[in-house]
Symmetry: C2
Subunit: 501 residues, 2 copies
C-alpha cells in the first residue's frame, strides 16, 4: 500500500463514520423519531456534519490528495485507491471553492426555504415561496459560478454533480428524441385510455396484507433480510449504512393496490445495488452506487421492465389473487397486466405511468435550464410550467400545488437532479436489451428464478460501486456508451402493442 495513502486512511475512516451516523439520524428521523425531537436532534446532526466537513476538508488532507494525484504516486495506487482519489478530487472541487460562511448561510436558507415551500404548497400560494426560491437560485448560480470552467454554463456544473457523463448537450439530444417520439404517442393513447379498466386497483386492500405481500416481493427479488430491513415512512426511500445494512421504507395506501407494490419493487432495485457493492469498497468514498442515473436504472429495471412484465407476474399473480380474492378473483392476469401498464397523461410526476414519466422530467429540465441561463422570470414560473404541461401532456394544473409547487427538490436547491430519473429509465432499457441477448430472461422469470438477472447486475454493475462511471459500465456491458434508442424503442413497442395502435 502507498505510504501516502496510508496516511490518508484515518481521515477517510473518520469521514465514513460521521457520514454513517448522519445516515442513521436521517433514517431515524424518517421512520422512528418522535415529532418534537427535531430541534434538539438537529443540533447533534449539525455538529456531526461540521466534523465530517472538518475531517475531510483541511490542509493535511488537501496536501495528501494533491500528492496522491501526481503521476508518480498514482503509479503506486491500486485501481480502488485511484478511484477514491478521483472521488475526493470531485468532493474538493464541489466544496472547496465555496467560502465556508456562504456555504453555511446557504444551508440555513435551504432549511427555511424548505419550510416555506411546505407552507406554500399547503396553502397553494406560489407568491409566498417565490422570494425564497429566488434566493436559493442566486446562491446556486453563485456557487456554480465559483466552480465553472471558462465559459461553462452554471447549469452544466450542477448537472455534473449527479451524473458526470451527462451535460446539457447530451441531455438536449436525449430529451429531443423523447419529445419527438413520446409526445405524439401519448396523445394517441390518451384517446384510448378508456379501453383499459383499472377500477379494481382502487378497492379496499387490507394494509397488513399489503405489508406481507410487499415483504414477499422484496425477498422474491433477492432482498437479504439478514442485511437489510423494511420500515415505513411518508415517502418510500432506500438508505444504507454500508453493504451489510441496507434499508428500505414503504408507504401503504388502503385504497391503492399498486402503489406500495411497485414502490417496494423500485426500492428493492436500489437496495440490491447497495447490498451487492463489494466488501472491499463498502465504507470507502467509492462504496456506493456510481451515480443517480445508474441507481435509478436499477430501481426502474425492476419496477417497470421486469415488474410490469407478464413473465414476472405469471408465477406469482395467483398468490396476489389468493391474498385478495374478494377483489381479484375475477381479474385475470391479462387484465391485471393491462391495469399495471395503463398509460394516461397526468399532472403529478411521482404518480405518473412509465410512458408519460419522462415528459414530466423534460419539463423540469427545460425550466431549470432556462433559470440558469437567465431566460426565466422566477415570478412567472407557474405560467411557464403550465404552458409546458399543456404542450407535452395536454393538461393544465388547476392550481400551483399540483403545478410548480409539487416537487420538494428546488426548495432546498437541488437543481440538476431530475434528469437522472429519465436517464435511469433509458439505461434500464439499454441494459435489458443486453440481458435478453445473454440469457433467456423470460424463461427465468416464468420459473420464478431471479438469480441469473441479479447475478448479472451484481457482477457487471453493483460490485464496482463508484469505481467506474456510468458510461464505462455501459460500455463494458453493452459495447457502447449511453444510447437512448433502446428506451424509445422499448416504450414504442410496448405501448403500441398494449393499445393496439
Amino acid at each position: 500500500m502507498s505510504k501516502t495513502f496510508e496516511t490518508l486512511q484515518p481521515y477517510l475512516d473518520k469521514a465514513m463514520a460521521f457520514q454513517t451516523a448522519r445516515n442513521l439520524f436521517e433514517w431515524d428521523d424518517q421512520t422512528v423519531a418522535p415529532f418534537e425531537a427535531a430541534d434538539y436532534t438537529s443540533k447533534v446532526v449539525g455538529i456531526i456534519s461540521d466534523e465530517y466537513m472538518k475531517c475531510l476538508i483541511n490542509d493535511d488532507v488537501r496536501k495528501l490528495i494533491k500528492k496522491l494525484s501526481e503521476e508518480k504516486e498514482q503509479d503506486e495506487l491500486t485501481d480502488k485507491e485511484k478511484a477514491i482519489i478521483k472521488e475526493l478530487n470531485k468532493t474538493y472541487e464541489q466544496l472547496e471553492s465555496i467560502p465556508p460562511e456562504e456555504y453555511r448561510a446557504f444551508n440555513e436558507l435551504a432549511l427555511v426555504s424548505n419550510r416555506a415551500w411546505t407552507k406554500a404548497k399547503k396553502d397553494n400560494n406560489y407568491e409566498y415561496f417565490a422570494p425564497y426560491l429566488k434566493k436559493i437560485i442566486e446562491y446556486k448560480k453563485k456557487f456554480a459560478g465559483y466552480r465553472a470552467k471558462k465559459n461553462q454554463d452554471p447549469y452544466e456544473v450542477l448537472l455534473g454533480d449527479f451524473e458526470e457523463c451527462f451535460g446539457i448537450k447530451e441531455l438536449d439530444v436525449f430529451f429531443d428524441k423523447i419529445k419527438s417520439e413520446i409526445v405524439p404517442l401519448l396523445k394517441q393513447i390518451s384517446k384510448k385510455s378508456d379501453t383499459i379498466d383499472k377500477s379494481y386497483n382502487f378497492l379496499k386492500y387490507d394494509v397488513n396484507k399489503q405489508k406481507a405481500f410487499c415483504k414477499y416481493l422484496s425477498g422474491y427479488l433477492g432482498f437479504d433480510f439478514n442485511r437489510g430491513v423494511i420500515a415505513e415512512s411518508a415517502h418510500p426511500f432506500t438508505l444504507d449504512l454500508h453493504n451489510h445494512d441496507v434499508r428500505i421504507t414503504n408507504n401503504y395506501k388502503e385504497n391503492n393496490l399498486e402503489s406500495a407494490m411497485f414502490s417496494i419493487i423500485h426500492e428493492t432495485g436500489h437496495a440490491l445495488y447497495e447490498m451487492n457493492i463489494d466488501d472491499s469498497l463498502t465504507q470507502t468514498p467509492v462504496g456506493s452506487g456510481t451515480s443517480m442515473g445508474m441507481h435509478e436504472s436499477q430501481s426502474r429495471l425492476f419496477e417497470n421492465i421486469i415488474g410490469r412484465s407478464e413473465a414476472f407476474w405469471a408465477p406469482i399473480y395467483s398468490k396476489l389473487v389468493e391474498t385478495y380474492p374478494e377483489n381479484l378473483k375475477n381479474i385475470s392476469l391479462e387484465h391485471f397486466l393491462k391495469g399495471i401498464n395503463k398509460a394516461e397523461p397526468s399532472l403529478i410526476r411521482t404518480e405518473a405511468d412509465e410512458l408519460s414519466y419522462p415528459l414530466h422530467v423534460i419539463i423540469r429540465y427545460e425550466i431549470e435550464k432556462a433559470i440558469f441561463a437567465g431566460d426565466a422570470d422566477v415570478d412567472k414560473l407557474p405560467e411557464l410550467w403550465n404552458k409546458k404541461y399543456q404542450e407535452y401532456l395536454g393538461l393544465t394544473p388547476t392550481n400551483d400545488a399540483e403545478g410548480i409547487l409539487q416537487d420538494i427538490h428546488w426548495s432546498y436547491g437541488e437543481f440538476g437532479y431530475f434528469p437522472s430519473y429519465a436517464i435511469g429509465s433509458a439505461i434500464s432499457s439499454q441494459l435489458y436489451a443486453k440481458i435478453k441477448e445473454v440469457m433467456p430472461v423470460d424463461e427465468y422469470l416464468k420459473e420464478g428464478n431471479i438469480t441469473p438477472i441479479r447475478e448479472f447486475l451484481r457482477d457487471s454493475i453493483h460490485k464496482y460501486g463508484a469505481t467506474k462511471n456510468t458510461n464505462q459500465i455501459l460500455k463494458d456491458i453493452t459495447g457502447e456508451e449511453f444510447n437512448a434508442d433502446y428506451y424509445v424503442e422499448y416504450l414504442k413497442e410496448k405501448y403500441e402493442s398494449l393499445y393496439s395502435l
Copy 2:
C-alpha cells in the same frame, strides 16, 4: 457567562453529539439493525467512541476544567455550570488515571468476554466463562486501584461510579436490615404461597392486544408520544437522545399477561424522569438522571408501589378485562391484585417479585464484595452463589445457567451496579411516604389522575437532572437523607396484610 466556561462549551457540545450518536446506534442495534450489520457498524461506533474520548480527554479540556475548579472561577459560575464541572471532574477521575492502551485492551476483552458468557450460559458451562471473568476482574481491580484513595477498597471505587452517596458502609447497614427483616418474612410467606391462585396470568394473551394495552398504560402514566416512542427488543430498556426524544422498548410474551404490562410501567417511570429534565440541562453533562439508584426509584415507584396498588387499578381494571374477557371475566379486581402481588422465592432476579427482589441483589453484592476483597475464588463462585441462594431464598439452582451465569453484567465488567436496584426500591418507599403526606394520592389514583404525582416528581426530582445528588434530592424532599426504614416498613405492612400473617 464565564469566559473560561465559554471556551469549554464547544468541547462539551461535540462530546454530547458523539454520545447522542452512540446512543442512537445502540437503540438501532437493539431494535432495528439487521443481523449481519454488526461487524461493519461496530467499526463506525468504535471511531465515534474514540472521537468522544478524544474531544473530552485532552490537554485543553484538562486545563479548562482545572481552571474552572478553582475558587476564583467557581464564583463566576452558575449552579448548572458548577454541576457540570463537578461531573467532568468525576469523568476525568474515572478515565484519566487509566492508561489508554489498558483501557482499549479492557474494552476488547469485555466484548470477547461477553460473547464467552453468552456461549457459557447457553451451554450451561461456567468453566468456559471463568477464565474470562478472572481477566475481567483483574482489570477492574487494577483500574480501581489506579483510582483508589489511600486504603480505599477497590469495590468502594466501583460502587461510587453508580451512586456517589452509597459506599460499602452504607450498603452493609442497608442490606443487613433487609436480610434480618425480609428473609424470615419470605420464609413465612413461602409456606402460604398456594393461597394465591395466579394461573389466569399464564393463559394465552394476544400479543397485539398486549401492545395496545401497554401503549395505553404508558400514555395513562404520562408518557408523551410527541417526545418519545415505544419499540420492541429482546429485553425492555429506556434510552434517550435528549429530553425531547425518550425511547422505551418492551417485549411481549403470549403466555404471560403481567410481564409486558409491568415492564412498560417500569420503563415509563424511567422515561418520565428523562422527559422531565429541564430544557436548560438536556444535552449537557448533567442532563440525565442523577444516579442509577434514583432512576430505579422512579421506575420502581411506578412499577411496584403505584402499579401494583388497588387505587391504581380500580379505574382501569375493567378495561383490561374488556381486552381479554375470555381470560379475565371471572377474575375479580381483588383476585387480580393478589395475583400481581404474589410473592414466592425464585431463582431468577429479573423475574422476582417485589418482596424477594432485594435478596437477589444482596447475594450479588456480597459476592462482588468478596471478589474485590480477595476473599472469593472465581472458580468456586457457583458454589458460593448456590449456598447463598439456599440461605436467603431457600432454593438451589439446578444448573449454572439459572445460577451464577444468569446476569450479563459481570461479563463486561459491570461490578457495583446491582445495589442500585435495591437502593431504587428503598428510595421509592421513602418518596412515597412523603407523597402520601402531601397529597391524597389514593384518591387521585382512583380518579385516574396521575398528574399531581407526576408533577411532584418532576418538580422535586426530574427537572434537576444530575445537578443534585441522591441524598440532596431526598433531603430537600423529605428532610432526611436515605433511610431504608420506609422500605422495610412498606414491605412488611404490605405482605403481612396480603398473606394475613
